[in-house]
Symmetry: C2
Subunit: 238 residues, 2 copies
Amino acid sequence: MTQAFNARVLTAIDDLPGSLAQRVYQSLQEAIMSLTFPPGTLIRKGAICDELGVSRSPVSEAITRLASEGLVDVIPQSGTRVARFSIEEIREAAFMREALEVAAVEKVARDHTPDQYAKLARNVRLQAMLVEDHDTAGFYQADEEFHALLMEFTGFPGVAAAVSTIALKLKRPRMLLLPEPGRNDNAVREHLAIVEAIRDRNPDEARSAMRYHLAQLVSRFDPLEKEHPEFFRSRQSH
Amino acid sequence: MTQAFNARVLTAIDDLPGSLAQRVYQSLQEAIMSLTFPPGTLIRKGAICDELGVSRSPVSEAITRLASEGLVDVIPQSGTRVARFSIEEIREAAFMREALEVAAVEKVARDHTPDQYAKLARNVRLQAMLVEDHDTAGFYQADEEFHALLMEFTGFPGVAAAVSTIALKLKRPRMLLLPEPGRNDNAVREHLAIVEAIRDRNPDEARSAMRYHLAQLVSRFDPLEKEHPEFFRSRQSH
DNA sequence: CAATGTCAACTAACATGTTAGAAATGATTT
DNA sequence: AAATCATTTCTAACATGTTAGTTGACATTG
């Protein structure tokens, strides 16, 4: 046969919560984020419908949302494909993320409660443990939780939501980064510096600590275009 | 008759560009922003379809987008109504806008070209003229353009888009604000301070000038809840 | 009269049929 | 062989039919 008839690659939607459209969105998002659908993949509505056993309505709605988040490109009257990376878009996402996280950490440094500080400090101690145990996946999760906690503590749920949408764009290229020895140790130290500035209610210090921390990630993205040109938007028109 | 049979309040979609869904979105958005559909209004898909002469598909898509921007609340399996204000949401939007605009103006202060500076300076001179002529509407437009220019000059189109989406949420309550004598004069002065900091390539000064400027607007929102309680989300459940 | 249960009317969500336009394919011409 | 052009085959976008859940009016009961 020319091709394994139809690879079942999407996660089942039966166990997910919410509307059908919401569940289809999650399933597709995971496939895109995990690079199961690598950049450039053509998305076939019909195939998705067959595989998930739903009609085109929820699939269309899910795709519309993915398009609004920049994860797919819709070509009118033609087709939809998984968005390729572009250095400019990555820089843009990093810029917006920095803007929001820096403002958030400044506010948290000013307004936080003892309980909030305790949760942050506990999370960083957990991070240190996980790094010591070389539990990369665990550290990655704790790292995400650390940032999520900070956003939550602004008291603005929309800020947390916006940042995680923006972070989606950075997560995908991040999966291509090679692990860098000692990076996680440094990340924990940087997190600790942020938490200490919060503890001291020092917004300026918190801001520059966060800024430094986020800059570490961005600096690693630049060489990516040469390593994985197939994932990047080609510059010439055709 | 009990009620003028069906008020034609939506702007026609025939002249607008883009897909049907996009045009319906614009028409609805204008009705919401201009308070033609005041907060709390029930949105009847059938009525919209009849009035604009389109099917439910583009209307649904438009409403989905309005919902994602927080301009309407969709009650699952029940109905959709124009979102009421809440002080918390206004503060949140103001927070996010400040975060992004402050970061943007810092970047522009660092990286701007002579041409970009010239455009900003020219815009502020225009503002001064318009205020002198008591052309409130003209000033309002120039004001919006000033901020749009700044966002554009970051070189990140997504930043401009995100800020204008956020600004949507602030625009509606802003329409309820009473004109405050001398406010526009001050606004021009604040804009000038921003432009001068940019000219001097002084990011810190640009940031604090922008921060001060945006704070002026937010401070005027607080009394709004008492003046127009009907537009605000009631706290008690029913 | 208040509380409750029933029912009709309405809606969002989903399924499916239709249309028009883009892109790839292949035939035709140069 | 290269370029052009018609045709076929995709697709997104739109229209419309169907389903199931929520709401509110109203009758019924305590």
